[in-house]
């Protein structure tokens, strides 16, 4: 999924609706506060983060070994493991599994990987109907949109809009907004979809190398229902989802739900160890650029990500610009790191969609140094010649001035005196972006340097010995 708008342009559109932008900001801040409450209730929180980070870094340092161990163990349990280099291979594998078995209807539970690979559209083009069974994802699917958040896919949609959509699609009472009533209508509808499905597709939160088991976390139980009725379960995961041992799982399950939604634990943490009796379990391991990330000293740590979405909930820019402003499947701080990796030119505005406040780094349960990686990205983009011309020209000029103290003083004098003596309409011209909504500082007659020198001369002439 890509869009032609760069982030500042899309963000400006979102911000233009002040009431809605504030509503969005407050909805996500509410989730951040819930996260704070449950995190601060655990005295061992920082130790857990450290432990999780180390487990992930260790796993990534031996990823090939753990992937092979996982394949062996999963195969022994009776699952079939497939390897996909990229999104196209992933989609082909899934399509083949479905068409070989004559499956026309699929119940899918939430999977950001299948979003990343564009699986829904691909299968639909081949005549297979895919229904997203996570309520939020079902809502965005019905609206022909993409999720705007990786954990809360429909966070950008108001309940009034959901009521209208349900009225049109499910025949609920016009104007109804009661969440309980609407959810029940969706539940009844989705029940039929579950019964109709010939296969269930799920994402995976954790794949355990030691056991060959996979763990899927949902709050709605839709993954369990989706794979328990049909005979075929296809589980799709990025290769970074590996953890070495079953014993490591507790560390991540404790961090995941608390960081994501402020719950002590996800409602359903479903463990799948091989196929159920009479059924088939196919596990598709997808690379799609992850090996290149693993090879990158700058951005390797982003593979620690467990997709909790906490960096989005805390990001002051994400909260006020909306997930769609990033134009990618995984938005927010983590998305602004991994998407430019796949296509630097297309996503060159994302590392700049950040004030470098560092809140994401402090909130991340697996201690990814998110804001530092965004800072590094800016340097890499400049090296690739992808810095915007306005930033490049203005900063090149600033650099030349700042390297020379005399030039700096002259430029400063001109700048301050232009502000002091030019008419307001000329100072606040259309090119003055700072001044559209803000006043410029009131320029003083003298700089600190000048005033300090006067001060020193006065002190010396008075024989002041305070510097002695």
């Amino acid at each position: 999924m890509t869009t032609h708008l760069d982030h500042p342009t899309a963000a400006k559109e979102f911000v233009a609706n002040d009431e809605r932008a504030h509503w969005h900001d407050q909805a996500l801040w509410f989730v951040r506060k819930k996260r704070d409450r449950v995190a601060h209730a655990l005295p061992e929180w920082e130790a857990l983060r450290e432990q999780a980070s180390r487990i992930k870094l260790h796993t990534m340092s031996r990823l090939a070994q753990y992937l092979e161990e996982f394949e062996r163990q999963a195969t022994q349990l009776g699952a079939v493991v497939h390897w996909a280099t990229n999104a196209a291979e992933h989609n082909q594998i899934v399509l083949r599994l479905l068409t070989e078995r004559g499956v026309r209807h699929v119940a899918k539970s939430k999977s950001m990987l299948t979003e990343e690979c564009g699986l829904n559209h691909f299968l639909e083009r081949h005549g297979i109907e895919v229904v997203d069974t996570d309520l939020g994802e079902w809502i965005v699917q019905q609206r022909r949109e993409h999720p705007s958040h990786i954990v809360l896919p429909a966070i950008h949609i108001k309940k009034e809009e959901v009521g209208q959509l349900f009225h049109e699609r499910l025949g609920t009472t016009a104007g109804a907004t009661d969440p309980q009533y609407l959810t029940e209508a969706a539940r009844q509808h989705l029940r039929q979809e579950f019964l109709r499905a010939g296969a269930g597709i799920t994402g995976v939160n954790f794949a355990i190398a030691e056991t060959g088991g996979i763990v899927v976390c949902t709050n709605e139980g839709n993954a369990d229902l989706g794979v328990s009725l049909p005979k075929l379960h296809i589980a799709c995961l990025g290769i970074e989802k590996l953890i070495p041992r079953a014993a490591d799982l507790g560390v991540f399950l404790r961090l995941l739900a608390r960081s994501a939604t402020g719950q002590p634990i996800t409602t359903y943490s479903s463990h799948f160890h091989g196929p159920r009796a009479g059924g088939e379990l196919h596990i598709v391991l997808v690379d799609n650029g992850r090996s290149e990330l693993l090879a990158s000293d700058d951005f390797r740590r982003s593979l620690n990500c467990i997709r909790c979405g906490a960096c989005m909930n805390t990001c002051p820019v994400y909260r006020r610009s909306g997930g769609h402003s990033y134009g990618v499947t995984v938005p927010g701080p983590i998305g602004s790191i991994i998407n430019p990796f796949a296509d630097p030119a297309a996503h060159s505005s994302l590392p700049g969609a950040c004030s470098l406040c560092g809140s994401c780094t402090d909130v991340c349960p697996v201690k990814i140094d998110l804001h530092h990686q965004l800072y590094v990205w800016r340097r890499r983009l400049a090296e690739k010649g992808l810095l915007s011309w306005s930033k490049r020209i203005s900063m090149k000029l600033a650099g030349a001035v700042l390297r020379n103290p005399t030039l700096y003083r002259i430029a400063g004098w001109f700048g301050r005196n232009s502000l002091r003596f030019l008419p307001r309409w000329l100072v606040y011209n259309p090119l003055n972006i700072w001044g559209r909504q803000r006043e410029l500082p009131v320029p003083p007659a003298q700089t600190f340097r000048e005033l300090y020198q006067i001060d020193m001369e006065n002190k010396n002439s008075l024989g002041d010995n305070s510097h002695g």
Partner: protein, 253 residues
């Protein structure tokens, strides 16, 4: 103790009173303050847009100018963080830099950690809202951030709390970013201004009369919005408040 005074470029040009206040506070507590007149800018604006090669000579100049002092102190968490945390990317393991890195401090952390100032005499009888500059908070750790679980502390607050008559006003979001972010303020102008207005509203709703911070750059952005929107909230750098109180204690009998 010879302290090399680092005055960020925009403070030199636009807020000389903040620089003078910094000198007064440091001298009040016995430091010998020297201002190397050839300084310009730490290079952060260039590094933040990604122009490392253009920022490097400025980092090198900084090390050349400030290496000789016992300490380097500046009234800006963000610029100090540039020196302490980001020069390494530009200068590597250069020994003179590593030495400088250890002795470079933001004003409040220097007062609390090095000079060990327990309290400041003097009255500041106003309701004051503290804006936590993000780089001071999360890169220098001058205080505990709301995300991290552990003991709560704040060096700026500790100094302000000791003033007589001051009331520090509680915020709904104690350490959210104001949206300045250097070039971010212009490149992402819409989000930046929305972030700033949200911070100001939080302070106004908490009843603050004075808005203070260890970072004048955040305050430049916030003051720009306050003046444009015609709000009544006075903006002062924390050095100005502390200098005011130090001056009072001098004149006290």
């Amino acid at each position: 103790m010879r302290v090399g005074l680092f005055i960020p470029c925009y403070v030199d040009q636009f807020y000389p009173q903040v620089g003078l206040a910094t000198v007064q506070v440091l001298e009040h507590f016995g430091a010998t303050v020297i201002y190397p007149a050839e300084q310009t800018c730490c290079g952060q604006p260039l590094a933040n847009v990604g122009l490392a090669d253009d920022a490097r000579p400025l980092a090198q100049r900084f090390v050349d100018l400030f290496s000789e002092y016992d300490y380097v102190v500046g009234p800006s968490g963000s610029c100090i963080s540039m020196v302490r945390n980001h020069y390494a990317d530009l200068l590597g393991e250069e020994p003179r830099y590593l030495e400088l890195q250890r002795k470079t401090y933001e004003l409040c952390e220097f007062l609390v950690d090095v000079l060990q100032v327990p309290e400041i005499a003097g009255r500041f009888p106003y309701r004051v809202g503290i804006h936590q500059g993000c780089h001071g908070l999360r890169e220098l750790r001058t205080g505990s951030s709301s995300e991290i679980v552990g003991a709560s502390f704040n060096k700026t607050r500790k100094l302000l709390e000791s003033l007589k008559g001051i009331q520090l006003t509680p915020l709904e979001r104690p350490d959210e970013c104001c949206g300045f972010g250097g070039t971010f303020a212009v490149a992402e102008e819409a989000v930046s201004c929305m972030m700033g207005r949200d911070r100001i509203l939080d302070h106004l709703q908490s009843g603050a009369e004075v808005l203070t911070s260890g970072d004048m750059s955040c305050l430049m952005h916030l003051e720009g919005l306050i003046r444009r929107d015609g709000q009544s909230l006075r903006v002062m750098h924390v050095a100005e408040i502390l200098a005011d109180c130090c001056a009072q204690s001098k004149t006290l009998p």
